[in-house]
């Protein structure tokens, strides 16, 4: 199960030249606006036809300019979730959901209508018109409509960008379930590092129409040299498991044997979660801190110290729990005499981890 993409296209003053292979799971096309990510996903969908392209999904060649093969979009077996939902205004929710379903009868069903309705919690909306739905409800219906079209590939183009923060938090878990419960490759376009951290199996970072970086999400995000949205957005991702929920409202996790305390999570005991720890929320100490209010203290070894022209530095620390990135001042780095191979302690306040930075894995 994989997706292979090669695209070359010259626009006015902008050259798109993108090649990557995405393994199973959710692949995020990540980059700022104008980086070419929507052009890539639309070429995969067949909505645009680049000058040169070769697109292969699960061994099926959808487009190959060398052999002049080009499968039109309606024969590509897609489930495309757009930024603005794009529900059909003249059909109720049920008809919207079943639109692609009726056109793909030859293929195996990915999920039944009942399953989709249950997973997305849209049972009460079936007879409503799109005009009567909220933004979050529209996106849930759009996800359901894509799933019911018996897709072999799910595409999502900034599906959360038009929503406010609470609605984003409402929709994100559905993409996690899509990634975890259906064995479908997913191409997901976003410019939000938080969505990358929560959803990505693989990250394809685009910049000015070129691939800047491809790799497993944990690897790319814990690379201190990868700061596409500036140093403030840096943060590593830890894989952890829910151990227990304490009575004082904290949830205890274990990351490879290291205990972490976080504000109450809704996940069940035993669930695997991924926690994004923003680099600016991590404090470093050379000695084991005592008498500190922070609950999470992890010993580690400095892997690298990087600084640019500004006053900040990003310190990468390898711990038993995984790699942690810390953003501190250059002055502190010098005062602590942090250098490669040195021992240090990474300190994280429990409450600094935002709920939207915790996802399932």
């Amino acid at each position: 199960m994989s997706v292979e993409v090669h695209i070359r296209q010259g626009f006015q003053g902008f050259d798109l030249d993108v090649s990557f292979a995405a393994p199973a799971g959710l692949t995020v096309l990540f980059g700022s606006s104008g980086s070419g990510k929507t052009s890539v996903i639309n070429a995969v969908a067949g909505l645009s036809r680049p000058a040169q392209s070769r697109i292969v999904v699960n061994g099926e060649v959808l487009s190959d300019s060398a052999t002049r093969r080009w499968v039109p979009p309606h024969q590509r077996s897609l489930g495309y979730v757009f930024q603005e939902g794009r529900l059909f205004p003249h059909m109720n929710v049920r008809k919207n959901l079943l639109y692609g379903n009726g056109l793909s009868k030859g293929r195996a069903e990915v999920a039944s209508l009942d399953q989709v309705v249950e997973i997305l919690g849209i049972g009460g909306l079936l007879e409503r018109r799109p005009a009567e739905l909220s933004g979050g409800e529209k996106q849930r219906v759009a996800i359901g409509r894509a799933l019911l079209a018996r897709p072999k590939l799910i595409l999502a183009d900034e599906p959360l960008a038009a929503l406010d923060e609470p609605r984003k938090a409402e929709i994100l878990p559905y993409f996690e379930r899509l990634r975890d419960e259906f064995s479908l490759p997913i191409l997901y376009v976003t410019h939000s590092i938080a969505e990358v951290a929560r959803l990505a199996t693989t990250v394809v970072a685009l910049k000015d129409g070129k691939v800047e970086r491809v790799g497993a999400a944990a690897e790319v995000l814990s690379d201190p040299s990868f700061t596409p949205m500036g140093p403030r957005a840096v943060g590593a991702v830890l894989d952890a498991k829910v151990v227990t929920h304490h009575e004082d409202g904290l949830t205890e996790l274990t990351a490879n044997g290291v205990a972490l305390m976080l504000p109450q999570l809704s996940h069940a005991i035993g669930d695997q979660v991924r926690v994004r720890v923003a680099a600016h929320d991590v404090i470093l100490s050379r000695e084991a801190p005592k008498g500190l209010s922070a609950l999470n203290i992890v010993e580690g070894r400095v892997q690298s110290v990087r600084s640019g022209g500004g006053p900040g530095a990003i310190v990468s620390v390898d711990t038993k729990a995984g790699r942690i990135l810390a953003r501190i001042t250059r002055r502190s780095a010098a005062a602590l005499e942090l250098s490669e191979g040195g021992t240090c302690y990474a300190v994280m306040k429990s409450v600094s981890v935002a709920p939207q930075d915790i996802g399932t894995r």
Binding site: A45, G46, L47, P72, P73, H74, Q75, R76, S77, L78, G79, Y80, F82, E84, R86, F88, P89, H90, Y99, G100, L103, S104, R129, P130, A131, R145, A146, A149, L155
Partner: protein, 231 residues
Amino acid sequence: MSDWLGPQEWAAVGLSLKVAFWAMMGAVVPGVFVAYALARWEFFGKQFVNVLVHLPLVLPPVATGYLLLITFGTQGVVGSALKEIGVVFAFRWTGAALAAAVMAFPLLVRAIRLSIEAIDPKLEQAAATLGASRGRVFFTVTLPLMLPGLLAGMVLAFAKAMGEFGATITFVSNIPGQTRTLPSAIYAFLQVPGGETAAMRLVVVSIIVAAGALILSEVLARRIAAKVGQA
């Protein structure tokens, strides 16, 4: 009611309704096609097609009628060929319908084109990604969404066809029972002494039909708009 109008007058009203109906029905499919092409496609000669479609709107109707006569008349290029297969337009009610259709065509195309341009092509793209071929996209997404505009265009075309005079009288003359439509009949009554009252009766009928068509289109358009969720 039936003795309110004389038999000649009834014939004119009936003929006009028939002519206008078939003019509207004949124009609607090519009208949708041309409107769709003008709204959605880029092709060589698009501007030429656009001008050609709108020509009857700005040309003197008599000129349009004359062009129809030399094209579709029994001696005309198209007319003589059609005569071979038994289709005759000249001096028949079918010719009146053709003239009315040609005159109503620009109004029909304009109304439909506007309603197509109001539809977000992104919805059609979404339908394509869900597995709909171009034809299916048209019939399941584009057509239902353009229905209010299509209906408005059809009523407009019907009303225009009811009132068409210049091109009709030039192309198919003014033969009672055959090509004497409402406007032709009004014109004919006004040419004879004492015909004013008959003419006035037909004017009243014209007003009733035109107003009825407009009210009907309003009601239908509102119902359809509510149904397609655009109210």
